[in-house]
């Protein structure tokens, strides 16, 4: 109440001064704008990799807008869904464009998010004090996967149907609650109209709401602690006489302009895909999905969309034989923990955990473990802030060990991704199994190699 009289009139907005003052006395417009844009000081050395955060937000908006227009014509009904998508493609004015924007946007979303996450891995953006930014980000990534999965059922093609069948059956594999859980998710004994209808509800309203809220939380946490940068320098430690970081520049106009440029380049690439190769060789839109869902016949080769394939490879890699290798690996991991100089209580907890895991290796099927390892492969990212024990954040000051580990991890992720798109072969399974070991080694061994690594001291200020 008091602020109505006390707040200073807005100046510098020309003819809008009066209106803005009226609003600002009733809503913290100017302070929000300052806090998050005009006076949000970001490090001055953002490079190419810092485009992908703003691009991810841009794609989120694009998906929401195109999605709204698609729902105007789409029918969430097993008898009509496939035909309504074809109707959008053929009969709705510009429907093909909106639909291709949405389908291209889905893959682009994951490309941008993967690059954004890789940026975090490179520059240690998950390290203290940014753990919560990383965790919110990971939850966004999980929600994005759910969003993509729910959305993929909607065209009701062969891949939609059998993809959903496989993913829902992942839950069915869980011990005790599995079958009932899968039944509850499907709402029927098979993937059916009931499943399609509820996936539609999740896809168009539930998950998008959560996503938007999480993006807000991600940004609020970021703006609370300030952005990291390629040097891993905390710019807030060196403030100028005006109280702002000397190595920071206001987000607006400097980075709003930079990010707008990024969006322009991105849109050019986006347009090339959307207009000339919307199926992207079967990776963005799978060919089998142009066949209506047939519950009696699985396509001869099914694979998830490319962004899930690294995890899919891990799922397929877990065979009974491979469980023995994993058991041996877990055993040696236990020995490693025993020999390391951790606190005693941690040691006990870790050892008990490993003993339980080893016992369960024999108690549960390889099928269940496939599902568990696939889940772990995603969830393990959450632990990164605590697994990385390096004294420095950025890869620029880390040594050869971390660089090789990160390089190898990227290669492994891509190789697993490739084999996840391919039919099962003995060679592919072997490679996926090696890939699975290396994938987990990157995380599980990080507390050791990040300490052993020879690092260089990080500078105090940006050059």
């Amino acid at each position: 109440m008091a602020s109505t009289e006390n707040k200073l009139p807005v100046t510098g907005a020309g003819p809008l001064n009066g209106v803005l003052t009226w609003v600002d006395q009733r809503f913290p417009l100017i302070s929000l704008w300052k806090e998050h844009a005009a006076e949000y000081y970001a490090p001055k050395n953002f490079n190419f990799w810092y485009y992908f955060g703003s691009l991810a937000m841009f794609v989120l908006v694009l998906q929401i807008v195109t999605g709204i227009f698609l729902t105007m014509h789409y029918k969430p009904d097993a008898a009509q869904a496939f035909a309504s998508v074809e109707y959008i493609m053929r009969d709705v004015p510009w429907g093909w464009l909106v639909r291709y924007m949405h389908s291209t946007g889905a893959s682009m979303f994951f490309i941008v998010v993967y690059l954004h996450m890789f940026r975090g891995l490179m520059y240690g953006s998950y390290r203290k004090p940014r753990e919560l930014i990383w965790i919110f980000g990971m939850v966004i990534y999980l929600m994005l996967m759910a969003e993509a999965f729910f959305g993929y059922l909607l065209p009701w093609g062969q891949m939609s149907f059998w993809g959903a069948q496989v993913i829902v059956n992942l839950f069915d594999a869980l011990p005790l609650i599995g079958p009932d859980l899968a039944l509850w998710i499907r709402g029927d004994y098979v993937v059916s109209d009931a499943t399609l209808n509820r996936f539609f509800a999740f896809h168009v309203i539930a998950i998008p709401l959560v996503l938007v809220a999480l993006v807000a939380a991600h940004l609020m946490a970021l703006h609370e602690v300030g952005s990291n940068n390629p040097e891993g320098v905390e710019i807030k430690k060196t403030l100028g006489p005006d109280g702002h970081p000397v190595d920071g520049i206001p987000f607006h106009p400097y980075y709003t302009v930079k990010d707008t440029f990024g969006v322009m380049v991105f849109l050019a690439l986006f347009a090339i895909v959307m207009f000339f190769m919307p199926e992207f060789g079967g990776y963005f839109l799978e060919y089998n999905n142009f066949i209506p869902a047939d519950p009696l016949k699985t396509p001869s080769h099914i694979a998830p969309v490319w962004y899930f394939t690294p995890y899919y490879s891990i799922l397929r890699a877990i065979t009974e034989e491979f469980m023995i290798v994993l058991a041996i690996a877990v055993f040696f991991y236990g020995v490693l923990i025993l020999r390391s100089a951790f606190r005693g209580s941690m040691k006990t907890i870790a050892l008990i955990a490993i003993a339980v895991v080893l016992a369960l290796f024999w108690a549960l099927d390889a099928k269940v473990w496939g599902v568990i390892f696939m889940g772990l492969a995603v969830m393990i990212f959450f632990l990164l802030p605590w697994l990385d024990q390096s004294p420095v954040k950025s890869v620029r000051y880390k040594g050869g060990l971390y660089r090789s580990a990160l390089g190898l991890f990227v290669v492994v992720f891509l190789v697993l991704g490739y084999y996840g798109t391919q039919p099962v072969t003995d060679l592919g399974t072997r490679i996926s199994q090696i890939g699975t070991m290396l994938y987990f080694a990157f995380f599980m061994l990080m507390p050791w190699y990040s300490r052993m690594d020879t690092t260089r001291p990080e500078p105090v200020r940006l050059a």
Binding site: Q165, L183, I185, V190, A194, L296, I302, R316, E320
Partner: protein, 198 residues
């Protein structure tokens, strides 16, 4: 009257705790209808009628697919050679006696069927629910050099023999389930019910 002095802190805590507990129970109870609304509807539960299959047109060595409860059910008319191949697979399958697999008691035998000639199974892989494809011929295949004929799951590479038994060291844990069924005559059978009326 010498009343004990009221402990305001304790009182406040008790009030807060009971309010939170009661509110929590109410919120939990309010969630029940929403969670339960996602369970299979009465209509979905009712749609599970048995189907009648005419196998008079099925030649030896052929397979037919019928829809039962929204899922594919297969009927394979096995030749004597095929039955020999099943017997020869004894060592290569994970659960030769179908001890841990799902089937009616009358199909818990080596050929997993009422009549050895006709195999009736649900065509849904016990791994993650894909429908395996036919590789009925006994010939070398990309996935197995000494293939005796059976089914190959395109999703994760599980292999099943001509009795629906899963091969060892494959992702699928169990044999293909056998639905309840019975023969109405030599060439007609009904899937989804048996003499026990299941």
């Amino acid at each position: 009257m010498a009343e004990k002095e009221l402990d305001q802190g304790k009182r406040r805590f008790l009030l807060t705790a009971t309010t939170v507990a009661a509110g929590g129970v109410a919120a939990g109870a309010a969630a029940v209808p929403f969670v339960a609304s996602m369970l299979p509807s009465e209509r979905a539960k009712a749609a599970g009628a048995p189907v009648e299959v005419d196998v008079s047109g099925l030649e030896p060595g052929q397979k037919m697919v019928v829809e039962w409860r929204g899922k594919p059910a297969w009927v394979v008319r096995r030749t004597p050679e095929m039955l020999k191949m099943v017997a020869a697979d004894e060592e290569r399958v994970a659960d030769p006696d179908s001890k841990r697999s799902r089937q009616p008691a009358y199909a818990k035998n080596e050929m997993r069927s009422l009549k050895p000639e006709y195999l009736v199974v649900e065509g849904i892989c016990t791994h993650l629910g894909c429908s395996p494809v036919d590789r009925l011929q006994s010939q070398p295949e990309a996935f197995a050099a000494d293939w005796h004929g059976g089914f190959y799951c395109p999703c994760h590479g599980s292999l099943f023999d001509l009795a629906g038994r899963v091969y060892k060291n494959k992702p699928a844990p169990d044999n293909l389930p056998v639905p309840p069924y019975r023969f109405l005559s030599d060439t007609r059978l009904v899937i989804g019910e048996d003499t026990q009326g299941a």
